[in-house]
Symmetry: C2
Subunit: 304 residues, 2 copies
């Protein structure tokens, strides 16, 4: 394991950021709920507020620990939205340890992160996902990303202004003047490859960025600082663009055909998360918090 | 591979049975749609009829073949129901061949089967699944089963008459006087173990039977005949009990709270099929017919 003094400082800084980002996101999304003037799914809907819930991680194997804070919103702009933080530590079960960099010999790990998914009512407003994390085993790395899923076929083109502006924001996060540049093209392509439904030969959405195993060797503070700054930029980049996309679409009217298209598209989201998403499958099969993990699933879904 | 003459006769007999059972099921379920007098989800709903669709299996690797017939119903008793037959052959991809008995050295296979899933409108009517199949690699076997999923918590007890009568019908299928007895207790337990949502520590439904790798060695016609008779008895046992369970429940009134409970319970069905079901995952990852495989997913689902 890295030097405990350095390691603890890194852990404190990273987990404090994820908690701070959760607060910023809560504030930004409650503001959207306040601002919205409709149309709403039901005319008298009130602005939504997050409900939060602390949880502690318990594990039959003992010795593991940590926990997190769930924040869930059921509002008038967002039919269902979740933004969770967690900081957990322990030892991977043997069959998983060998899949995790740096855990092959010593299965102990520490991981902290924030994850978000938003399912809006209005089919004109795209679904979004954002997740960033810092993990330590005998190695240490950041990972994460953000991707956008417009649900109406007519809005799923790369030429749509929402898609173009989302990509531009992610590119800015990679090239933020305060950071050495991250490899935007690589992370964009990784996102396209990862968020792909192989069984349907179709992408989940219009993409974004995805990165993982962004190595932070012990003793190299500048590399940790650079990668941490990039991870913060991804979170702030998300906050700079997604509320803007919501604002420009949330007052558009929609038809029952649009709603049905949205509910069917949400089925693809479920298929991806349960068949392919590493975090979901890993969490469920290693005794993670089921309520937090599956709060990514859409509130209402059709497979007609 | 077994002697081609014997093997072809077995294949013909098995696949002909699965096609015949599909016809019996179509007739029985269309009769239920005719008989029903409501209450219906919408007052003017008409009796549903199956639509059928033939499909051919194509595979980029070439040399594979076969196909099947899908039969889908969207009616007034059944919100969504599918009963499919397929007879397919080819060679397993190397990574799958080693997981399949008898395919470790020679990846060629032939498989035929029937599978059914019914999602009724009325939350008082249980969901059901039935599937039987005959597979040849360098070995040959039958597999299958049937299980019942009441959706209302108040009906999910083993003491409920529906549960008791479903179990009794499956036991009769195992002990049919025309067959040497199959191992009911073993297959019942296998079902309980298989249809279990580990991440929620909850069973999918009240159980039934599940069996697999019921060996039919080449040259041993009596064993093939016995196992084939048992597989037919499972199909007929299903037909002897499930329409009866539908009849006794389909005229019960339900509340919007019952409907919501049903939609949430259906989410568990989706979780099982996409996270754990071997057939679903295997089919999707080996280029199966996505439309047929995923027609098991419920028509409308909630994750509130």
């Amino acid at each position: 394991m890295p030097d405990p003094t350095i390691s603890d400082r890194r852990k404190d800084e990273a987990s404090a950021w994820f908690v701070a980002l959760q607060e910023k996101i809560i504030a930004a999304f409650e503001l959207l709920e306040e601002e919205a003037e409709g149309p709403f799914a039901k005319p008298d809907m009130a602005a939504g507020r997050f409900s939060t819930k602390l949880w502690r991680r318990t594990n039959e194997t003992g010795g593991d620990g940590g926990g997190g804070r769930m924040a869930l919103l059921a509002g008038r702009v967002f039919e269902k939205m979740a933004v969770h933080t967690s900081t957990v530590f322990g030892a991977f079960p043997p069959e998983f340890a060998k899949q995790i960099p740096g855990a092959e010999e010593d299965p102990r790990f520490w991981a902290s992160g924030v994850s978000l998914i938003a399912h809006p009512w209005n089919p004109n407003v795209p679904v979004v996902h954002m997740n960033t994390r810092y993990v330590e085993t005998s190695r240490a790395w950041f990972g994460g990303g953000a991707d956008l899923t417009p649900v109406l076929d007519s809005r799923r083109a790369q030429s749509d202004p929402d898609a173009q502006d989302f990509h531009a924001a992610m590119k800015r996060a990679c090239n933020d003047a305060q950071n050495p540049a991250a490899d935007y093209e690589k992370y964009k392509q990784w996102c396209d490859e990862y968020f792909y439904l192989k069984h349907r030969s179709e992408p989940r959405g219009i993409g974004g960025i995805f990165y993982d195993y962004l190595d932070c060797p012990a003793g190299d503070d500048p590399v940790f600082a650079k990668n941490f700054a990039f991870t913060r930029a991804v979170g702030m980049g998300f906050l700079s663009i997604y509320p803007e996309l919501v604002r420009r679409n949330m007052a558009l009217v929609w038809t029952s055909a649009d709603r049905e298209e949205q509910l069917v598209r949400r089925g693809r989201y479920v298929e991806f998360n349960l068949l392919y998403d590493r975090g979901t499958i890993f969490g469920l099969k290693t005794g993670g918090n089921v309520e937090a993990i599956l709060s990514s699933l859409p509130p209402l879904v059709m497979w007609p």
